[in-house]
């Protein structure tokens, strides 16, 4: 999959005869981020920037920032942003969508934001089939606040609030919320991708692009869950965290398109993933 980015400055390079293969899109603001080394948020921000550039979206995008590590996303993506209270991004986006029919409406949330405090909001935005593209970053932890357990934390996983490992008896089971949402007829597209390696990142970009096109084409609610890593929160090196992502995390959260009701031959909804709590 060739990575390319249209760049207006390429013409000036004609004399150099070298050919630009990749340059970061302008909509990805040129500054160092606050994310920890190796954090998947950076990759996801970049993919969003590339897809939005490819689909010519920045000029009419109104995006909703979450509360969590990605609360500063408005410092990195050069589009109009509103900051939502923790968990409320889908409701904030609903308000935007309803009064600005022509806008491209995007939400970006972490797992605590979407699958814990914001569960009602994401469920009802999906149930209403709001024409919104939701990016849901699942790194199984509350990163910004120091590495606490999230609804998507794996069983047995140690966090600062499950110090001896997540115990289902006391702390319940990991939530596969995207599968839950996919049951709702209002959801036109639901998929789960990963930043685990170059191949996964390529496939993730296709999913994000699809989720944006669904909105452009007037479809209903679109969501892409992204399995992402949290080296610091997981207590691993960046590379180890990606191995972990490919391993037990991907096992608990199967990758792929869960439902795509937009395609003419509607892809059959994902086999109701046997929610095996002991994943």
């Amino acid at each position: 999959m060739t990575l390319h980015a249209r760049s207006s400055s390429v013409e000036t390079q004609r004399a150099a005869a070298a050919r630009l293969v990749y340059r970061k899109p302008d909509v990805l603001i040129d500054r160092a981020t606050h994310y920890c080394p190796g954090c998947g948020h950076g990759v996801i921000h970049r993919l969003l920037a590339e897809v939005m550039t490819d689909l010519d979206l920045p000029a009419h995008t109104i995006a909703v920032a979450p509360v969590g590590c990605a609360v500063f996303i408005y410092d990195y993506l050069d589009v109009d942003f509103v900051e939502a209270p923790h968990g409320r991004a889908p409701a904030v986006a609903t308000g935007i969508r309803r009064v600005r029919p022509e806008a491209f409406v995007l939400t970006y949330q972490g797992d605590g934001d979407l699958a814990a405090i914001g569960t009602a909001e994401i469920v009802h935005a999906a149930a209403r089939g709001e024409r919104i593209t939701a990016i849901f970053v699942n790194n199984g932890i509350y990163g910004m606040t120091g590495g606490q357990m999230a609804p998507t934390t794996l069983l047995g996983q140690r966090t600062t609030s499950s110090p001896s490992g997540r115990d289902a008896e006391l702390m319940g089971y990991p939530i596969r919320i995207t599968e839950m949402l996919a049951q709702l007829p209002g959801v036109t597209y639901a998929a789960r991708g990963s930043v685990a390696d170059a191949g996964s990142i390529g496939r993730l970009k296709v999913m994000i692009r699809r989720a944006c096109q669904v909105q452009i084409e007037g479809g209903g609610f679109a969501i892409v869950e992204v399995l992402s890593n949290c080296p610091v929160g997981w207590g691993m090196t960046p590379q180890e965290s990606l191995e972990h992502l490919k391993g037990s995390v991907a096992e608990a959260y199967p990758l792929g398109v869960i439902v795509d009701r937009s395609a003419p031959s509607t892809a059959r909804p994902a086999a109701a993933a046997a929610t095996n709590p002991e994943a």
């Binding site: 109009d80 509103v82 904030v92 609903t94 308000g95 935007i96 009064v99 469920v123």
Partner: protein, 409 residues
């Protein structure tokens, strides 16, 4: 700038207005009149959730907003509704939410966000008895909530308190105007009576003109991206943001304080009351006047900014003030702050959804007069020993402990 003293209470009109009113007068329920006034004021989007005693407002919007091609959404909760409003308002739309006391409590966080980010919207609270699930009867026990800040942080919200359905309709346009002029959420507080009662009203509306907002999120086409937010992790920056907010609030207090005085010119005593309590007070005042007692009504229309300077000036000529509320006594604190001990401040109130009767208020007035006369004849006039506010039903919230106190409760 709106006139400082907006005397346009629905009950009192010039002859010309009465004549004009008679022509376009129709019987309307408070909730519906408020909703229609909002629509006529140019409300682009309404977000709500069912709750008594405000449900008819939502129902009116559910029917009318689609009719006029505008947005109506019944949210999954009051949390959802207020956050939808936050989103819509951030794009510059004219937005309204309505609920009642318990629902308003759920909206506290978002109100703080909107105050902090400068997002204009109007929130109508048709107050009901609390605390907790409380009851569905009329109440004013959300005064603290509305005027002292529902959510966290140093912020205030202009609070408009109509005393009639006609005035509520007028104040809807004012609410949108204040919200957009000062980039702040604005509250309009009615109570179960104002919401549920039906009154003949004139179908005369006002639509505040639109202004282009240089902060609104519309998509950064051909301009730098904009951010509507309240977060600033740098204390220096956050303090500057707060100082700007406080300056805005001083500005609002200076220009937007609204109150109404009635029969105060020769008054020796005054009742301070708003909303439904003010209507009861008027009846009591009429009776007291018949008995030769010079009593007037001081009616705040903006609960915040509270008309403290006007009340302070008034209190210099008064022997005593009676505050009447549908609560245990909340506005009384602001009254005492304004009066600063210049004259005794007594209280009469009912809770649970009960409304004080004119007789009860008359009784409280007489008790106040008796007390004033007694203290005038005795030598020392030590406010500290005054009778603690709180009458037969509303037990005083005295903090002084010890058996000695209990006897005089």
């Amino acid at each position: 700038m709106a006139p400082r003293q907006e005397i346009e209470i629905g009950l009192r009109r010039t002859e010309a207005e009465l004549e004009a009113g008679r022509r376009a007068r129709v019987l309307m329920k408070g909730n519906e009149a408020i909703a229609e006034a909002a629509i006529q004021a140019g409300c682009d989007a309404y977000f709500g959730y069912p709750i008594t005693p405000q449900a008819e407002l939502l129902e009116w919007m559910a029917r009318r907003m689609p009719e006029v091609g505008r947005v109506f959404v019944q949210a999954e909760s009051e949390l959802g509704a207020i956050n939808m409003a936050l989103g819509a308002a951030a794009t510059g739309a004219r937005v309204m939410v309505s609920s009642s006391s318990p629902g308003i409590s759920l909206m506290a966080e978002a109100m703080s966000y909107m105050a902090g980010s400068g997002t204009p919207m109007v929130l109508v609270n048709v107050m009901r008895a609390g605390p907790g699930l409380g009851g569905i009867g009329p109440s004013q026990s959300d005064y603290f909530q509305a005027t002292k800040g529902h959510g966290h942080g140093d912020y205030r919200v202009p609070v408009l308190a109509p005393a009639s359905i006609g005035e509520a309709m007028k104040l809807m346009a004012t609410a949108f105007e204040l919200a957009e002029r000062y980039r702040t959420p604005v509250m309009l507080v009615a109570d179960g009576i104002l919401g549920q009662a039906m009154e003949p009203v004139e179908l005369r509306f006002r639509t505040p003109e639109r202004q282009a907002f240089d902060w609104a999120l519309t998509g950064a086409a051909g301009r730098p991206a904009r951010i509507v937010k309240s977060l600033d992790l740098d204390p220096e920056v956050l303090e500057r943001r707060n100082l700007a907010l406080q300056q805005k609030y001083r500005e609002i207090a200076r220009h937007e304080t609204r109150w109404e005085g009635w029969q105060l010119a020769d008054a020796e005593f005054a009742i301070v009351a708003y909303g439904t309590a003010a209507r009861v007070a008027r009846s009591a005042i009429a009776r007291a006047r018949e008995k030769g007692m010079k009593v007037g009504l001081f009616r705040p229309i903006t609960l915040w900014p509270f008309p403290e300077r006007e009340l302070a000036r008034m209190s210099r000529q008064l022997h005593g003030i009676l505050t009447v509320e549908l609560s245990s006594g909340q506005m009384i604190e602001d009254v005492r702050l304004a009066v600063e001990g210049r004259c005794p401040v007594a209280f009469h109130g009912r809770m649970g959804g009960l409304v004080p009767t004119p007789d009860e208020v008359l009784g409280a007035l007489k008790a106040l007069r008796g007390r004033v006369e007694r203290t005038r004849t005795t030598t020392s006039h030590d406010p500290a020993t005054e009778h603690h506010p709180g009458d037969a039903s509303a037990n005083g919230t005295g903090v002084r402990t010890g058996a000695r106190r209990r006897g005089r409760g």
